[in-house]
């Protein structure tokens, strides 16, 4: 047995040296170590009151993104209803990952009962969270997942996860696209920031839904940004005038892309599907410029995140459970 293991590892080492490593999935594909047990809505709703006035801290990626506003507001009101206090902290920019790290460190030093975190950097945040958890702080992960591999190797056990299944959301968007295009045609994708867990998952979901039917002729990242999406899609459209559909990994990029479509005089010819259902997108939905978008209920993430944190602290919800908020496809 031992010997066989030695042989296998020697072979692996040789393969690695020869540059033919056994097929390895990209890091972002790394599955959650073991699918965590789900907690039901009823179990969470059963948390009615905090035994003690817990001090909770919500750390989001930034306030500078309309997505987090409902999450913050819902978390604040839920905390109040349960008799806990909630403090909200966030870096000014989504890209300011180091600052989010220091925020967690400072909260740990200050001493709170629970940290609810939507990490800007799925891997980088792990050491800070590990230190918090070691100090006995209940760490609940919201929205963007903490990287399972990095957490496992650091010995970090999260107290819970509340978020949406981004891959499933991408799949829903892909199925909608399939429906609108009647099952065939050429499409383009505007992706979020490369390497971000949610961006990769949405893209993966969309691709898996349309593969075999639709041909993806252009893909590019516009880094979640309206203006970049406008410029990028203007060029994509010039290079691939045959494109019949476009999936944008968030609505802010869809806003930019729709402007580019409008200026090219091709309004109504290209099916655009977005993601997030931000308020600014409503007029475009009702005008039909945007065919569909995915609502992932950030308010519910905030609300159930607080319920889970208090439930875990009260001892009525076991640690390490996860809750996925329902996704919804919005077409009007």
């Amino acid at each position: 047995m031992v010997r066989r293991f030695a042989i296998v590892s020697a072979t692996l080492a040789a393969m690695a040296m020869l540059g033919c490593t056994p097929e390895k999935k990209p890091v972002a594909d790394a599955p959650v170590a073991a699918p965590a047990e789900k907690v039901t809505t009823a179990e969470l709703e059963a948390v009615k009151k905090a035994i003690k006035p817990y001090k909770l801290a919500l750390v989001v990626k930034t306030r500078n993104n309309p997505f987090f506003d409902p999450m913050i507001k819902a978390a604040e009101s839920q905390a109040k209803a349960l008799g806990a206090t909630l403090e909200v902290q966030a870096p000014p920019q989504e890209s300011d990952k180091e600052l989010q790290f220091s925020i967690v460190e400072n909260l740990t030093a200050k001493g709170v009962d629970a940290i609810l975190i939507a990490p800007a950097d799925s891997k980088g945040i792990v050491p800070a969270l590990k230190r918090a958890a070691d100090k006995g702080i209940t760490v609940i992960n919201l929205d963007n997942r903490v990287d399972a591999g990095a957490a496992a190797s650091a010995g970090l056990a999260l107290a819970g996860y509340v978020g949406a299944d981004n891959e499933e959301g991408g799949r829903l968007a892909g199925q909608a696209m399939l429906g609108y295009l009647g099952g065939y045609g050429k499409v383009a994708i505007l992706e979020g920031i490369r390497g971000a867990d949610n961006a990769e998952a949405r893209k993966r979901g969309f691709e898996s839904a349309v593969s075999g039917s639709l041909e993806i002729v252009a893909r590019d990242t516009a880094e979640w940004d309206t203006q970049k999406a406008y410029a990028k899609f203007q060029s994509m459209l010039a290079a691939h005038p045959e494109v019949k559909g476009l999936f944008c990994a968030n609505d802010k990029m869809a806003l930019g892309a729709m402007k580019a479509i409008e200026e090219t005089g091709r309004r109504g010819e290209i099916v655009v599907v977005g993601y997030d259902n931000i308020p600014e997108i409503r007029p475009y939905l009702s005008a039909g410029d945007l065919k569909a978008t995915i609502e992932q209920h950030p308010d519910l993430m905030g609300r159930y995140g607080v319920l889970m944190a208090v439930g875990v602290l009260d001892g009525v919800i076991p640690r390490g459970r996860e809750f996925l908020v329902p996704l919804e496809i919005i077409t009007k």
């Binding site: 309309p66 410029a231 203007q234 290079a239």
Partner: protein
């Protein structure tokens, strides 16, 4: 050696050749980039068409406008890192003043530039007509007049905006707020002797923070239809080109422009020849704030949406445009027309890389390389001349 390039020898032929080379070099870079991409059939077919070419001007639009103001600041030997955040702040101010109630700080900040100008005018009048007045007394009067005006104008704006003031007011507030940020930068740099990099870095952070504070991170939508026209097609291109033209005229054909150039060339010499360094530097930063506000209006108009994340990294694109346009970051040498070409070069690069189908992971590398190579060639040229 760059010193020599800035002060060409008396030989007029060399000077003529020098300025000609400086004028042509950015265009040459743009032509090279276009020619390089044109080797690819996809680019050749799609780029050089009547339908597509205006897109480049539109994509470059906001950057062209921001780069005009940046040229003034870089000409003085300074730098303005705050323009991207100031754009976001002005955009949000425009949105809030037009559709909702802006928080008081926006109204009062927007009241600062007119009050400042009026107070300065008062002092000038006093100096002319009341000769025997102590400097301190004049300063006191100026401060009192300025403060009173800020309060009065601020209250007037707040009242006017209490239920969405309409577009004209929104535009005024946005422009004035931009100038206010620039004015603040300028005063901190000149009166406070804070290095421009640090002063505007502070403003970069503060203005972004204020933007998010004003709206809780939400963007402002529902802007009037009329505004939308400014953000696209011919009006957008016109705004960009008019800003460039005015900027170029001011910088090369007015006393103010010559002083700003002189400050960048040799600040001490300019001071000794009686140029009011603090005044003209502050004006340069205020112009940068103004162009950031104009860019914000155009950007907000384009999507009829004031986004708190707007203008992220806009300062870097603008600085890149100015530098590609042949400016020297040590001051005294820059041209608004060059910056226009620089902004166009960046837009062509961005568009070309997508048209040709270079994966986005490599696009940044190529754009960065082009910036470095352009400036490198410029430096080598100067060294050979000097």
């Amino acid at each position: 050696m760059s010193h020599d390039a800035r002060y060409p020898s008396a030989c007029s032929r060399t000077r003529w050749a020098d300025s000609f080379a400086r004028l042509v070099r950015p265009w040459l870079g743009l032509a090279l980039v276009c020619a390089g991409f044109s080797l690819h059939p996809k680019f050749l077919q799609t780029f050089w068409t009547q339908d597509y070419l205006p897109n480049i001007l539109q994509q470059a639009g906001t950057n062209i406008v921001v780069a005009v103001g940046m040229t003034f600041v870089i000409m003085t030997g300074g730098i303005d890192l705050s323009v991207g955040s100031v754009m976001a702040l002005c955009g949000v101010a425009l949105g809030l003043a037009t559709t909702a109630t802006p928080p008081p700080f926006i109204a009062y900040a927007a009241a600062v530039p007119p009050a400042f100008i009026f107070a300065a005018a008062t002092v000038a009048l006093l100096r002319r007509f009341v000769a025997a007045m102590a400097v301190q007394a004049r300063a006191g009067i100026a401060a009192a007049v300025g403060l009173a005006l800020v309060v009065v104008i601020g209250m007037a704006i707040t009242r006017a905006c209490s239920a969405g003031a309409g577009l004209a007011m929104g535009l005024g507030v946005a422009l004035s707020l931009g100038v206010c940020c620039g004015l603040f930068n300028g005063l901190v740099v000149t009166r406070g002797s804070v290095p421009p990099f640090v002063a505007t870095l502070g403003m970069l952070t503060a203005a972004r923070g204020l933007t998010v504070y004003a709206t809780d991170g939400n963007s402002v939508s529902g802007l009037p239809e009329a505004l939308g026209h400014v953000g696209q097609g011919a009006p957008l291109i016109a705004v960009a080109l008019v800003c460039t033209a005015i900027g170029a005229l001011v910088l090369t054909r007015t006393r103010m422009g010559r002083y700003i150039t002189a400050i960048g060339g040799n600040e001490e010499a300019a001071r000794l020849s009686g140029v009011n360094i603090a005044l003209y530097k502050t004006i340069a930063y205020s112009i940068s704030g103004l162009t950031a506000a104009i860019a914000a209006i155009v950007l907000t108009a384009k999507f009829r949406l004031a986004d708190t994340g707007a203008g992220a990294n806009a300062e870097l694109s603008a600085i890149a445009a100015v530098v590609i346009g042949g400016a020297s970051l040590s001051g005294g040498q820059a041209s608004v027309a060059g910056s226009l070409v620089g902004a166009l070069t960046i837009a062509v690069l961005n568009a070309g890389l997508v048209l040709v189908g270079i994966p986005d992971t490599l696009q940044g590398v190529i754009i960065g390389a082009v910036i470095i190579v352009t400036v490198l060639i410029d430096q080598l040229q100067r060294r050979s001349r000097g």
